[in-house]
Symmetry: C2
Subunit: 426 residues, 2 copies
Amino acid sequence: MTVVDSARAARNASFLLAALPREAKDRSLASMAAALRTRSAEVDAANMRDLQRAREQGVAEPLVKRLAFSGNKIEQSAVGVESVAALEDPTGRTLSARELDEKLELLQVTVPLGVIGMVFESRPDALVQISALCLKSGNAVLLKGGTEAAETNRVLFDIIVGATVQAGMPEGWIALLESRDDVRAMLALPDSIDLIIPRGSNEFVRFIMDNTSIPVLGHADGVCHVYIDRSADLQQAVAIARDSKTQYVAVCNAAETLLVHADVAEAFLPQLAAAVPEVVLRGCERTCAIVARAQPAQQSDWTAEYLDLVLAVKVVDGFDEAVTHINRFGSHHTDAIVTADRADAERFMARVDSANVMWNCSTRFADGYRYGLGAEVGIATGKIHARGPVGLDGLVIYQWRLYGNGQVVADYTGPDARGFTHRRLR
Amino acid sequence: MTVVDSARAARNASFLLAALPREAKDRSLASMAAALRTRSAEVDAANMRDLQRAREQGVAEPLVKRLAFSGNKIEQSAVGVESVAALEDPTGRTLSARELDEKLELLQVTVPLGVIGMVFESRPDALVQISALCLKSGNAVLLKGGTEAAETNRVLFDIIVGATVQAGMPEGWIALLESRDDVRAMLALPDSIDLIIPRGSNEFVRFIMDNTSIPVLGHADGVCHVYIDRSADLQQAVAIARDSKTQYVAVCNAAETLLVHADVAEAFLPQLAAAVPEVVLRGCERTCAIVARAQPAQQSDWTAEYLDLVLAVKVVDGFDEAVTHINRFGSHHTDAIVTADRADAERFMARVDSANVMWNCSTRFADGYRYGLGAEVGIATGKIHARGPVGLDGLVIYQWRLYGNGQVVADYTGPDARGFTHRRLR
């Protein structure tokens, strides 16, 4: 089946999925979880073949480890599917209800987006999780997993299709793409695919964004800042800066640049330097004058996403310079201010154009699970549809449903026009 | 100033706009309305020059009439600006509030999108209305109006800039583009423009959509359907079909195709034909066998947006065929079912993939003013961000604001991890 055929089948399936009640979708998810357990030996065997091939091809051992998917990981994955079943159904929610006139009522109701294109690298558990989230939200999905996990993905896909179609899901609701050419073909189908969600490296996401006119939910860069304001509690500031930088360096919500108000730079920077001895500091001139071990920063440091134990540090003359720096050099992902002044914090949050803004806490909190979203579909730094950590709500849109009783617009126009009541219901 | 410079200035202004309180924005809108009245003679004079040039260039008289903007129209426009000021501020609304832990509170707050690109044809009042809506929602805007109204637009722009900047709006928050080359330049600035809203003909909107990777809020086609189900009240069905087709034919929410259940076709179609003698009917074979004056429909009639007194008519064997036809040939704009069976109506609404779905009322109700949205930014047929008639809410997105007290993620990980409370607030 070509990608165009798969997309068409997914579109047709999506019309049926949209009308399914929660119970039918949850039953399919339960069936999916059960099948993962029943057929775990098959998954195990396929994964062994993927691992062996990866080692033969000289893939680095940490990457090989990320491919591993057996025993306990399969069980965890099945539990994950069950927890998706337990979440609220994001569709069928009434966002607003308005009486336009007597017996003419308008509901704004959440509905699935339709067909999602998911493209992700390596980890096979992503395939299971993403399938579950799409099914729960009533969306059809075209999936492309990492080539290194091809055999594991194929078996997982077979398990998911078998279990869900048997449980009543429409055929074609999920399709597996296998090659880069398939992905390219999908990116060229704006009429068939409603949203692309890429997960992977910056370069990978950037490639997707630059090569499709289909809306993309994701983020390429994470250049996050911590700004230490004049009135900051310096002990708290050190703890927050350290956590934002070092708690886990390889992720998009880790801080890459530290901004410090000039009035507290001499007091704060030596404490910070002592608290993160493992971190390479790339400082502006004033920083280097205060911290001996800081290396001079280049212009490129202000836009660098190190994803490593490196931190750019700049002394700023005040609040405005800090905000301007963040809006100019940041990636609109997550930025924090440390200050004792609530009004300054509010001004910072209102003026910093980022998906997540933090006051007196670590940038590392910007995450769907920590936010309590139940499940994370991805993190978005665009301004349209969904922003920051995106939960199941990011996979739905709304439809206007008008319930009438024979009304026609002619009666509401002209000199003897009936008026609208426009009364909010509920 | 180049378009790139204007876009950069607008981006910088947008950071300041985002932090303005409602009062400051409403004061600027009041100032804008007052200046329109004070300087109406200038607008009048400029508009006379535009009208004269249009007539000299042989522009058709109905189009010249649409260009006219003087006296009463200027006053109406000023009143329109005042009514935008009276609307609720769409920014600063708390969509959700959640305690993650003691003194660690997460708010999801609406904020402006940032920089809007508005491109519209002819009518000068659109420039005033769009500027007011952007200002109200805290967005900077790059505007391109119709070339025929160039002089009027220039004076209106001068009035708006003067009045709003004097009232405290940041310089550069609004810019006027003058040429098609300017528009092309804007379409190539995805990092500077957050959303494009085109208003105009199908071809015009399609051109914009096909030539930018910036998200576009709009609709190219309006191929709307009315489906008469087996159990429909036929008198009601005639009234709804007539209104949907004839009440105003030149608009996107007018019906273009009528679908009729085979069981009622012989009873219904002659009544319909008698009720719309002015409408040319293009029927399927079964329709033509029932209605003598129907012309045979071609395949292209099922996707035609006539915007005229023409209606395609097809007899279908049942509900499923009707839904499949609409999803396949429609434009996902507005589709109606006439039926006495509420369950069928609900199934229709759930399975028809359109922005607006109607039960027992005219498709012509699909409109921001009739829906009571207060103001209409546009009508969208995409699936992302906003759908159907879009009010001021379509010009905002949200930001996650996390209010902490020194918390770091390290305390919430590992064997002695603190747990999250994830308690819904308010």
